[in-house]
C-alpha cells in the first residue's frame, strides 16, 4: 500500500481545531484539607464579572490542585482581586494565597473537536506535543471537545505538529476568535 495512503488511514478524523484568544493561566494548590481559599477566590473573581473559559481540578492525597484561565484583558483585574484578597488578612496571619498560586502569562487554548471519547486521539495528541517539546499547562475535556492550554505563541506550531495525527476537513484552517462574548449582567 502507498505509504501516504497508510499514513492517511492512521490519522483520526476530526471536525476541526479552534484557537482561543490570549489567556493567562493560574494554578491553585490547596495546602490543607480545610483550606477553602479556592472557593473564596472563585467567589471574588465571579463578583468582578470575570469569566473563566477553562477550569479543571484534581485531587491527590486529599488536596486539590486546580487550574483556570482568564482572558489576558482580564488578568490585571484578577491580579488586583488576588492582591486585595491577600491584603485582607489579619495581622500576623499568612497571606491567604501565599504559596498557593502560580501564574503563567501568554497562554492559548487549542481545542480539538469532536474527541468522540477516543483514548487513541487523546494519547496521540499528547505524544505529538511532547515530542515537539510543546508543554501542556493543563487540559480538560468537555462532552465533545478536548481543550489543551499551551503557550500562546506555539498554537500554530502545535496545530502543524498534529497534522500527522488528525485528519481535518478539506481546506480547514484552525478557527480563530473573531469576536468575544462578554456577559455584563446576570
Amino acid at each position: 500500500m502507498d505509504s501516504n495512503l497508510l499514513a492517511e488511514e492512521q490519522r483520526i478524523a476530526i471536525g476541526g481545531i479552534r484557537f482561543s484568544v490570549e489567556l493567562v493561566h493560574y494554578r491553585h494548590r490547596q495546602l490543607s484539607p480545610d483550606d477553602r481559599s479556592l472557593a473564596d477566590l472563585l467567589h471574588l473573581v465571579a463578583g468582578r464579572r470575570i469569566n473563566l473559559p477553562f477550569f479543571c481540578s484534581g485531587r491527590t492525597d486529599g488536596l486539590a490542585t486546580s487550574s483556570f484561565c482568564v482572558a489576558a484583558a482580564d488578568a490585571l483585574e484578577v491580579d488586583a482581586t488576588l492582591a486585595a484578597m491577600d491584603g485582607g488578612r489579619g495581622a500576623g496571619d499568612a497571606p491567604p494565597l501565599a504559596g498557593r498560586l502560580a501564574k503563567t502569562e501568554r497562554v492559548g487554548t487549542l481545542t480539538i473537536f469532536p474527541h468522540r471519547h477516543s483514548p487513541a486521539l487523546l494519547g496521540r495528541v499528547i505524544v505529538s506535543l511532547a515530542g515537539a517539546q510543546i508543554a501542556i499547562h493543563s487540559l480538560c475535556t468537555s462532552i465533545s471537545a478536548l481543550s489543551l492550554n499551551i503557550d500562546f505563541d506555539l498554537l500554530e506550531r502545535a496545530a502543524a505538529t498534529l497534522q500527522p495525527v488528525v485528519s481535518l476537513p478539506e481546506h480547514h484552517a484552525p478557527f480563530r476568535p473573531e469576536f468575544a462574548i462578554r456577559q455584563i449582567e446576570r
Binding site: 472563585l42 479543571c56 490542585t65 468522540r116 471519547h117 494519547g123 475535556t141 462532552i143 462574548i181 446576570r186
Partner: protein, 181 residues
C-alpha cells in the same frame, strides 16, 4: 458592530443534569519527562475498546504531572487496569491510583464558556457541603463533577442552590453519553 447579550437569571439555567454511578477514576502522577510514555499508553487503551468520560491534566507545584481519566468499568476493566499498571514500570515512570466506584454529576448549559460565575456556582456549593471533589472540569458548555460513591444525589441537591435543575437528566449507571450537538 457590537452585540450585547444579557442573561437575567437569579439562578443559572441548564439544559440538563445527569448523574452516573459506578465509574472508575484513574489518577496518574508522573514526571513531566514521562508525558510521551503515558500518552502512548493512553492511546493503547483504544485497543481495549474503552472510551473516556472525562480527562483532565495539570502540572503540580512539584513539576510533576497529574492526569486523571474517568472511565466506564465493564468487562474490559481488568485489561485496562493491567495496561495502566504496566505503564508504571514499578514506579519508575510514575504512580497510578484507582478510585472505584465513584459518582459523576454532569451538567451543560447555554454559553457556559462565555459567562462569569459558572465554575464558582458549581464548586462552591460542594465545598460548603464538604463533599470531596475528586476531579472536575468546566470547559465549553460542560460541567463535570466527580464525587465519591453515593454522593451524587447530595451534590445535585446542593447545586440546586445555584442552578435551576428542575428538568431532564436522571441517574444512570454506565452507558455512553450523547455528544454535544
Amino acid at each position: 458592530m457590537e452585540t450585547i447579550a444579557v442573561y437575567w437569571e437569579p439562578k443559572i439555567r441548564v439544559y440538563g443534569v445527569s448523574t452516573f454511578a459506578g465509574l472508575s477514576l484513574y489518577t496518574l502522577i508522573f514526571p513531566a519527562g514521562q508525558l510521551a510514555h503515558w500518552g502512548g499508553l493512553i492511546a493503547s487503551l483504544a485497543e481495549a475498546g474503552t472510551g473516556f468520560r472525562l480527562v483532565n491534566q495539570q502540572v503540580q507545584a512539584t513539576g510533576e504531572i497529574i492526569l486523571q481519566l474517568l472511565l466506564q468499568p465493564d468487562e474490559r476493566h481488568r485489561e485496562i487496569g493491567r495496561i495502566i499498571a504496566g505503564g508504571c514500570e514499578n514506579g519508575r515512570a510514575g504512580i497510578c491510583r484507582l478510585q472505584s466506584p465513584v459518582d459523576l454529576v454532569y451538567m451543560h448549559g447555554p454559553h457556559f464558556q462565555d459567562r462569569y460565575g459558572i465554575a464558582e456556582a458549581a464548586i462552591t456549593p460542594l465545598t460548603k457541603a464538604e463533599i470531596p471533589l475528586l476531579a472536575a472540569g468546566c470547559t465549553g458548555t460542560s460541567i463535570y463533577l466527580v464525587v465519591p460513591e453515593g454522593c451524587a444525589g447530595k451534590a445535585v441537591a446542593c447545586l440546586g442552590a445555584t442552578f435551576v435543575l428542575d428538568g431532564g437528566g436522571g441517574r444512570r449507571s454506565g452507558g455512553a453519553d450523547d455528544d454535544e450537538k
